[in-house]
């Protein structure tokens, strides 16, 4: 199906299912219940989950396949975002040209950075990419303020020229759209106590993510993918087998840069603003964490990792003392206070602490990331059925 093996097609189908039914899956708790705090089925977070999924999928094409650890990928996301917002300011609020140009510009920028950085390998390569990204961030925040908006970033204004769009009716703020379909258009479905939100922007982002995921499967299974894994495995042998590893790694670098640009463009399409912080080194570090947390070199790992971290950032950070008090209100007074005191350091403003601990846990106990965790659980079930697995699994990257 679609030129994929049965297994890969199955994987794609699972991801498609998750994307389509995310509004249900992420909103498992009825409105107003104490657990509703954990619902993530609102447009902004759903959009972020898939967009950062794209970012991580792209990063994985570079890091997972070739092993080159870039510490500057956020720069490509940022450059893509700036390109997109300028398209929206100058040309049209339609997201198509914005996203197209963001991919293009990020691709060109990554070509330049990659061409220089790939002269070195190992940590030297990492530091070179980091240096480029930090320079981009520092300049965007300060001297490039006329182009980037600096500290305040850029947002579309109704006074922008926008040569393809007609003048806005009075009182309207410019809205990102796809040939007239507003990114914020939302439909709600009420089923008893449950409310499910369907958002146009989310589905466009999700469709893009599916396409990006599909392309990444194609790349993984292609001769190019094999060559990239060969780069990671043994560059020496590669060079002595008549293969030039440079253009291969550069291709991977540019492809992943374009994925980052796509993510950046989509971020702007969903939420029309850019800030320089999205190029800061911690943002580059975040995509590394997403990829490794999910499982580097696996197809679905980066998507899981991205989802996991963004969920933490957006949900756990919003649990404040009041919410905790409400959760534990059913307990006797002293006990409820004690529970609040125990849990409080880990949620709300302490969410970074939880994140740090989780990283450590995953790296220590699940070196292959969440995917390995899933596989272990899977094996647990399979061994109950006592069906011996063929040792085939190792030759292709695990899902």
């Amino acid at each position: 199906m679609l030129g994929l093996s049965k297994k890969d097609a199955g994987l794609l189908a699972i991801v498609a299912f998750l994307c389509i039914f995310a509004p249900f899956l992420l909103n498992p708790f009825p409105e107003g219940s104490a657990m509703a705090q954990f619902n993530a089925g609102y447009p902004d977070l759903m959009q972020r989950l898939v967009i950062f999924g794209i970012f991580a999928i792209g990063f994985n094409i570079l890091f997972g396949l070739t092993g080159y650890l870039s510490f500057g990928h956020a720069a490509f996301l940022g450059v893509g975002s700036y390109a997109a917002i300028w398209m929206m300011k100058l040309l049209t609020m339609n997201v198509v040209p914005a996203i197209f140009v963001s991919v293009l510009v990020a691709g060109l920028f990554s070509l330049l950075v990659g061409w220089i950085s790939l002269r070195r390998s190992g940590i030297y390569f990492s530091i070179l990419t980091l240096a480029f990204a930090q320079m981009s961030y520092a300049l965007a925040y300060s001297v490039l303020t006329p182009i980037t908006g600096g500290e305040t970033g850029l947002q579309p204004k109704y006074t922008d020229p926008r040569i393809l769009d007609g003048a806005l009716p009075a009182g309207q703020s410019p809205r990102a759209n796809l040939f007239g379909l507003d990114m914020k258009a939302t439909t709600e479905l009420r089923l008893g106590d449950w409310v499910f939100t369907f958002n146009a922007g989310y589905y466009i982002a999700a469709a893009t993510m599916l396409l990006a995921f599909y392309l990444s499967i194609r790349i993984f299974r292609s001769p190019l993918g094999m060559m990239l894994r060969a780069v990671k495995s043994n560059q020496q042998r590669m060079n002595y087998t008549g293969l030039n590893s440079k253009p291969y790694t550069l291709a991977a670098f540019v492809i992943s840069g374009m994925y980052a640009g796509l993510a950046g463009g989509l971020l702007v399409a969903m939420d029309t603003q850019v800030g320089a912080e999205r190029m800061f080194w911690t943002a580059s570090g975040e995509v590394v964490l997403m990829t490794i947390l999910g499982g580097a070199g696996t197809l679905i790992g980066p998507v899981l990792g991205a989802g996991f971290i963004k969920y933490m950032e957006n949900i756990v950070s919003k649990i404040n003392e009041t919410v905790l008090e409400q959760w534990f209100a059913f307990l006797p007074d002293g006990l409820s206070d004690a529970m609040v005191a125990i849990v409080y350091p880990f949620v709300g403003k302490g969410w970074h602490l939880t994140l740090g601990l989780l990283f450590m846990m995953v790296v220590i106990f699940l070196p292959g990331g969440l995917v390995e965790g899933g596989q272990r659980i899977g094996r647990l079930f399979r061994s109950k059925k006592s069906e011996p697995e063929t040792p085939d699994g190792k030759t292709t990257p695990a899902e």
Partner: protein
């Protein structure tokens, strides 16, 4: 005129003259061994031949074309394949994939942006890899992780990968170093078989005299960066200078 002509090659590392003034001619379709004590410059010479090092002086011609200044992959594409002392294979990939990579390199050249079609749709490449695997008795291991194989199998795989490119010159760098006697003999047999089956020139750098004298048609003895003598194995065995410089001390080791 041999297929490989090395003329007046010299290479200096700081104060050390690694290669003095090397002249070497390897005839097409011959098996040529290069021997010499440690530090004689064998590895340096090999690295010059494959493009890893650029000599200070002299020229290296392969089939009438200079190899100097070319990158290793370009030299490989000219038809020179190298087998390493410790097998260099793609340990993270399956044996089958290891086998397919040189097939692709042969067909598509040094770089091809082949990122969309699936490998499984490249039936000709799969067939060619399979043929080599069967030939090398590795077919039953095709789905194995290459790193998980025994050392002897890795060596066979590496040689098979080099042969898959149909090289005109195969360079072997101590192919039996650290092997048990049985594995060494297997390797000798394998190389003999290869030589019988195809038109190929083999240059071999070796410590093990047993291997050298079983295979080589001509032998060059290197000492202190310069060729001492070059002759047939029988002549080399009796050569006094060689005994003095090399064999006397290494017979115990061999």
């Amino acid at each position: 005129m041999g297929i490989l002509e090395v003329k007046n090659v010299g290479k200096r590392f700081g104060g050390l003259q690694a290669l003095g003034n090397v002249n070497l001619s390897i005839a097409e379709n011959s098996v040529h061994a290069i021997i010499g004590p440690n530090g004689a410059g064998k590895s340096t010479l090999l690295n010059v031949l494959v493009g890893k090092l650029i000599p200070d002086t002299g020229s290296v011609m392969f089939d009438g074309q200079s190899v100097l200044g070319r990158k290793p992959y370009e030299i490989n594409q000219m038809g020179i394949s190298r087998v390493f002392q410790t097998p260099e294979i793609f340990g993270d990939l399956s044996v089958q994939e290891n086998m397919m990579i040189p097939c692709f390199a042969k067909r598509d050249g040094a770089f091809a942006m082949n990122g969309y079609g699936s490998i499984t749709s490249q039936q000709d490449m799969i067939d060619k890899a399979e043929e080599m695997l069967v030939n090398m008795k590795l077919a039953d291991k095709r789905h194995m992780h290459a790193a998980a194989m025994s050392r002897g199998d890795k060596r066979r795989l590496e040689i098979a990968m080099c042969l898959a490119q149909d090289p005109r010159l195969l360079l072997l760098d101590e192919p039996t170093a650290g092997m048990a006697r049985a594995d060494t003999n297997n390797t000798i047999d394998l190389l003999k078989q290869i030589k019988e089956e195809r038109d190929i020139t083999i240059a071999i750098i070796e410590h093990d005299m047993h291997v050298v004298f079983s295979l080589a048609e001509r032998i060059t003895v290197l000492a202190q960066g310069t060729p001492l003598v070059e002759d047939t194995p029988d002549k080399i065995k009796g050569h006094p200078k060689v005994r003095e410089a090399y064999l006397g001390e290494s017979q115990d080791a061999a």
